[in-house]
Symmetry: C3
Amino acid sequence: MLDNVRISAPLIHNITNYVTVNDCANILLACGGSPIMADDVDEVEEITAVCGGLNINIGTLSRRTVSAMLRAGKKANELGHPSVLDPVGAGASVLRTNTALKLLEKVKFTVIRGNISEMKVLALGRGSTKGVDADAADAVTPEFLDQAVAFAKDFSRRTAAVVAMTGAIDIVTDSEKAFCIYNGHPDMSKITGTGCQLSAMTAAYVTANPNAPLEAAAAAVCAMGLCGEKARARMTGLDGNASYRNYIIDAVCNLTGEELERGARYEVR
Amino acid sequence: MLDNVRISAPLIHNITNYVTVNDCANILLACGGSPIMADDVDEVEEITAVCGGLNINIGTLSRRTVSAMLRAGKKANELGHPSVLDPVGAGASVLRTNTALKLLEKVKFTVIRGNISEMKVLALGRGSTKGVDADAADAVTPEFLDQAVAFAKDFSRRTAAVVAMTGAIDIVTDSEKAFCIYNGHPDMSKITGTGCQLSAMTAAYVTANPNAPLEAAAAAVCAMGLCGEKARARMTGLDGNASYRNYIIDAVCNLTGEELERGARYEVR
Amino acid sequence: MLDNVRISAPLIHNITNYVTVNDCANILLACGGSPIMADDVDEVEEITAVCGGLNINIGTLSRRTVSAMLRAGKKANELGHPSVLDPVGAGASVLRTNTALKLLEKVKFTVIRGNISEMKVLALGRGSTKGVDADAADAVTPEFLDQAVAFAKDFSRRTAAVVAMTGAIDIVTDSEKAFCIYNGHPDMSKITGTGCQLSAMTAAYVTANPNAPLEAAAAAVCAMGLCGEKARARMTGLDGNASYRNYIIDAVCNLTGEELERGARYEVR
């Protein structure tokens, strides 16, 4: 999966928030892809057309970018390009919830990548989240895993998208098969945008592996988690979340397909 | 003060510039808070409502974000949420000066955090600054300290806000009591956005310590300066401002309340 | 050239993309300049006026920023301020191509800094590029160097700007004299925004050396490449593109005029 990214170097069109956009660009380069960011309605269709895949992230959305997202998404569908939706903060405002729902209605996404609180809001068509992190009540822990898997499979069935629901345990599923992924480190939540970065990287993986979106998305999630572990092991007592951020992207840059194969920790349900 | 931030993990709504926004998000996470960035008029009131505090920074403002700032500020006032204003570059353009003045007129801020040149422009209702740094002529040095303290106290009286005026010596004051803070390192000015980061962190401190805005703001300023010192001490001969930026956020991530207590260097006037 | 930047600390107005803007600000500080970012039409003329030089970069442009670019550019011309154009992704969309062409028509730039694919699009008034990187077919390699130099000189003649065309070999030329620069490292292309950073730094160099735009632009290109080499040499096996990014800015921060003199590798054609 990773080797295919490095070989094909997919160009990914990102319409994403201005908070974590630089890290998204650098992680795309790190994993072997190539980023382009463009969010003006007057150019998004052309940009989508020259790219291999599309990544839409609704953090810091505005009226201007919402229409660009819709246009780019429709264009990607038209051209058969893989696309990823990251519904950042869905539930935190009506604008975010409605934008995410409208995107799901008008665009067929290959993968939806978010936390469980965001997914629940989208599945129910309403609800609320506190900001951009999952509610504590929604934590995916071993005892609630079966329930979470069932929810994710059902949400995947209804959206016809691979669902990548990340948290303490990550669940990547289509309507049939779920990968429960145990890679990662709790301190990753102390870095802004690890979720956004994963979504961008997932777009590169599914674009480079067009016939295996479920496995490609699962590989991207394993890769991010594994790099989170490797980067954490590298930290000294003086390092904090800023260095950790850099070390994760560094680890993505140095990760080989063989290491990913060996380090991925998951079970299938 | 810091321990309260780590315990309550305040969610801070930031309407801020796109230059330093990522660092603001990471320093909020580093100090124990949680960031959300949202600047669309259609969602800012809801976002402010789900957060505990608000941080408004006028760097890279636009017509679109100015109205969002006003709405969010009024909402924060309505809900009794602490709020911080960072009048970046006030005086460098009429738009910036007028926006900052309008915000001060329509919104009651808990803290105003800026450099002395920006503060002077706001106090006089006009004037000019050269860009986003304080004029050399405005440097707060020991011989001008009394004068600067008097100015800051007066500005605090007129705005009913805690004034955090940062420079070679930082002054944090309400109309009565001024903390003159000696922490920090001159090389911090070689990093873009240490001021913006401090404003974001100040919002977390005052939100977590609602009954002591003066002391909370002073603690945030001491923390930033102390971390600037610790990070500077960590630098090797090959390091420059990029690594320094990371080391400061790392230091904020690792700072304990006890260390802050011990390392804070200030006098009260 | 570098010493003049450090002595005069030129204030540079940047209208640039939100992807790499933070790195542009930090590299400007690293080289001895001072950045201000402002893109609202209502303030760009004033901001340009208080600055010494202007840097326009069309990555993530929008209708809103295009008009700001035009106004700022005209103002800079009026005041005789040096200006740099970075036509990021010209050719990837009609909007980008037309914006770059319109800027070239309405504004006289001191330097145009881009890759060969972007330059070709602008020279021909049409054409296409794949995203924001140069086409492989356009690589400036030793065997095509003469041809590339001739093209760059011709483009410089027609635009009356110094042309800084960067790639495997960088060419910095006016219509008469071309510097072919061999500094740099291929891994720099694994970092987002090294081109944007170079453009910002070039603006500082030409602003600090107003009577020698060709030599100043060449010095900036040598400095960036040399710092790319020094930073690459500093990397350990665990480092990747995120640390490399930081190390380059660090190296720019520590670079002396003497080192630049000694480390620059170029020939004149």
